[in-house]
Symmetry: C2
Subunit: 213 residues, 2 copies
Amino acid sequence: MTNLTIIGNGNMARGIATRALAGGLTVEILGQDATKAKELAAELGTGVTFGTTAEAPQGGIVVLAVPFDAAKSVVSTYGEALTGKTIVDITNPVNFQTFDSLVVEPGTSAAEEVAQLAPAGAHVVKAFNTTFAGTLVAGESGGQPLDVFIAGDNADANAAVSSFISAGGMRPLVVGPLKRSRELEGFQFVLMTMQANPEFADFNWDTGLQVTK
Amino acid sequence: MTNLTIIGNGNMARGIATRALAGGLTVEILGQDATKAKELAAELGTGVTFGTTAEAPQGGIVVLAVPFDAAKSVVSTYGEALTGKTIVDITNPVNFQTFDSLVVEPGTSAAEEVAQLAPAGAHVVKAFNTTFAGTLVAGESGGQPLDVFIAGDNADANAAVSSFISAGGMRPLVVGPLKRSRELEGFQFVLMTMQANPEFADFNWDTGLQVTK
């Protein structure tokens, strides 16, 4: 049985799959490009299955490890094949033309837009939008386990995602309903502009975001 | 010469004053209540001057360590007395009735609303909205110096606030123009709901927010 399907074969797919495998989950990689999906699956180790997005996802949790526009397209295309699934939206809808705003309007979020496109029987959960890929592969930042901020409207779906995150050695923080994705996406947008800003010489798309105590 | 005027005599005034004094700055406390301002000044140590908000602030940097509505009122009342000053807005405009939204509309921020009320010759800088009072007094969170996120439109004002923050043993992070306050306020709103949520037993208005590496 497959626990987790990851749509995508890039750096975020690699990072999330690495943590899931560390947590003992079974992982399926579905990419647009069959060769790249096969290569990533092989790199991750034995037992990782793979295929293309022409196939229906097998996992109960489906992580959309693709950019925002592609995430919307994947959900629309799969349609009813996602019924009963927990869909994890990790996207940051940054306007990369201006790098001065999001491409979603104030008062909404990428996760809410993705949820609008999902079938009624699926639950969309925001997670992993503040964890850069390299920190997921490393499994830590600043010597601490990663904090993963989670927002979602369905308690069971939030719990399923939290459970996987805990298994992978990270700290799940369920911050509230799906609309809290607005604030999660907004803050990560700011952190992304800092990575791109040469004044922050130490920040190179490799920082973590931690609630300390 | 006074470097820093703090408007307010509550926990945030205490925290920011503690760090400023640790950094060797001279501090003035102006409260609505003369007795409370005097008590806080005495608690902070010798050399801290005090008075009421009936007096014009002496510091080049004026920190509004009061709630959002009071911050707007202070700026309006002072008017031209703030010309030439760097005004630090630390507020979080949370709707404490619902605890489910901010009281400012999406697409704006408390800092921008305060700036609308300030005289043309003053510069408003957002800072300290993610640092809880206790962590400022302690000067650390999780064993690390505090990160202080800063947003402002005037480079000199941002630099002056950064300099004070560095002197006080904290890490200044100038994230961008004043409108980035929207994202800073939005995220802290989420962190505040977590402090109030009994599911986060460890979070009691005492956590820090850190960019790790």
